[in-house]
Symmetry: none
Subunit: 144 residues, 2 copies
Amino acid sequence: MLIGEYEHTLDEKKRVTLPKPFAKALGKKMVITRGLDTCLFLFAEDAWKKVAEKLQSLSFAQADTRGFNRFLLSGAVEVSPDGAGRILIPDHQKEFAGLKRAVVFAGVSDRVEIWDASAWKNYKARIEKQADAMAEKLGEIGAL
Amino acid sequence: MLIGEYEHTLDEKKRVTLPKPFAKALGKKMVITRGLDTCLFLFAEDAWKKVAEKLQSLSFAQADTRGFNRFLLSGAVEVSPDGAGRILIPDHQKEFAGLKRAVVFAGVSDRVEIWDASAWKNYKARIEKQADAMAEKLGEIGAL
DNA sequence: AAGATTGTGGGAAAAAGTGGGAACCCGCAG
DNA sequence: CTGCGGGTTCCCACTTTTTCCCACAATCTT
């Protein structure tokens, strides 16, 4: 289970070091894709396989699922960490997520999300405001 | 069942010692998450697992559950007490809960809440007032 | 009053994160 | 065919943060 939040820096060579806790869990091979809400998704190899399978099982007949497929699959790249535990962020993904120098890694169950630090701050501020509504939902699913 | 209220200090290295009664009940591994009302939740490992399982069952296709997952999962960290029975509070959580030097541990059934001492005082004052009002109301309708 | 237990502080060792240089592999032009 | 950029990849070294450990203060117990 991937959890936690870490801020790292993307250098001029488009490298970022994976937070140590994530590096262990993700292994040697992982996949970066465009994510939802202007962030990138980072999956461990087998977690990615599961996602890919699920996507394939969706009907081709509907235009929206086709679009969703393209969205997730076309932008996907397999990456491996270098000797120092860093990965390279491809240009088009860097652009897509609007990454600057400061980026945030956020663990969300089976994936890691990569955000531009300031975008993350904004997003977080937004969802924190909705905390009350969330509390109700938590009650519904019986989590708390 | 975790009960009681203890005030401890968060040192410059962001360490706090767990109150001894909680330390025993929480075990070697525990999870800190963002809580509701500007405090942090501290779960024992298995109490956390129950919450996590429920969260995993939610789909990431919907915007609100995505936000919900991010809020709880990215805000969570697994921690272990050091040799002196202290845990480390990550930066973003310290900031979220507005923790200063003095923090309060409050046992609430299956979790421990961590509050900034002054925020706790305010909150307590508020709910105590509400309790009085509620008691009066209950008295009026003859419930007590 | 002495000893045990709990909470706090700080110093030294280790590790994580970052930057930058050197080697390497392309394609391209002379 | 040879030599010259441009862009990667690999590797090393520095800095900062974290982790581990020990010592002291305060409190409770016997």
